[in-house]
Symmetry: C2
Subunit: 215 residues, 2 copies
């Protein structure tokens, strides 16, 4: 009888699966989710498309596998955990601004994340929805702490952060794709980005001030 798993230099299931997943990522970045198709994956990976069906049960399964190994939010989680400790830092205005600023910078630099964010607002997809929910779950701890913080204030902290995060998403996608301005501002220039970040910082600052905190 032969052994179960092959680990040879030519035939290697796990390595091949990874190659297929990687091909999905490369196509996504270069051409967007609309162009993730079995024939293209086969061409890009240099493998037979049959393997997509053998190993993932079809394109959907492969896409699911790809999305599940994307770990944007896990990186953020580490930050929240403050390097291993599970103690959440104070939800100060500086902390919030840092969070938003990092979000902005990261999304701006990551073509992959841009495509995934776009994907998420383009089609209904179970795995993408799960990814979105996962992210919500991640923010939950921050918001629970913040809810207490803003409890007796006139500020709707969640609504405010939803606005600011959303704006970052849209502005980056708009700048990266259309290349045109928004209200006369182009965030793909250093000056435009600084203006937006500064405005974000002011809005957060005023939100805290309005709530009665000088933090």
């Amino acid at each position: 009888m032969a052994r179960r798993v092959h680990q040879g230099s030519v035939y290697n299931k796990e390595r091949t699966k990874k190659k297929l997943i990687d091909a999905v990522g490369r196509i996504l970045i270069r051409e967007g989710f609309q162009n993730i198709k079995v024939n293209k994956i086969a061409a890009v990976s240099g493998l037979s498309k049959k393997l997509i069906y053998n190993y993932f049960g079809g394109l959907e399964g492969l896409i699911k596998a790809y999305l599940e190994q994307v770990d944007f939010w896990k990186i953020e989680e580490q930050k929240l955990d403050n390097g291993g400790k599970s103690a959440l830092p104070e939800i100060s205005k500086d902390f919030m601004f840092q969070l938003l600023r990092d979000d902005f910078e990261y999304l701006y630099e990551s073509a992959e994340m841009q495509k995934i964010v776009l994907w998420g607002i383009s089609v209904k997809n179970k795995t993408l929805r799960e990814l979105s929910d996962e992210r919500e779950e991640l923010g939950k701890r921050v918001f629970e702490k913040a809810d207490a913080f803003f409890e007796n204030s006139q500020v709707d902290f969640r609504a405010t952060v939803a606005i600011l995060v959303s704006s970052i998403y849209y502005m980056v996608l708009h700048a990266k794709t259309s290349g045109s301005r928004m209200c006369g501002i182009d965030v793909s220039t250093k000056e435009g980005k600084e203006r937006v970040l500064k405005a974000l910082e002011r809005l957060i600052g005023q939100t805290y001030k309005y709530a009665g905190y000088a933090l």
Copy 2:
């Protein structure tokens, strides 16, 4: 010799062109820009796809014709013109909030506009770019007036409005497609929408206050 243009009840060029353009709109709303294809247009319109090539030189030309007859911003222009008069109303915080609120409501209700906004951040397209620039041009007058208004303040009005408008776009698209929450808020519920609008109003109000205006 026969006449140039046919206007019969069966053969009618202009009417047919309109039918093709309408088909593009219907497909866009139902299935998104990715599914605007010659065969589908032919099926939806009940016409031969050959006509797309005859009358518009191809799919691109038809799509261009479709986009050019979309007049979202023209509606807004009327509002700015205050019913024929070209005098621009005062750029008060109430005026700005109304503008944003209307933007929100309109986008939220118009599946067509949602698809076009999404289209604009999904692919590079000359006509879409022109549409975006046209919109910028429309806002120009408001901003020029506002620039003077906020000249000696610490407020970057353009950056602030860019943030607020962008957030509306993203939140609506996110809610309509993904259906999931953002920071715990679901703008497709009445409660969620009210929270976001209220937060927008507060942010605008504070922006004016920060600039030294109690308007």
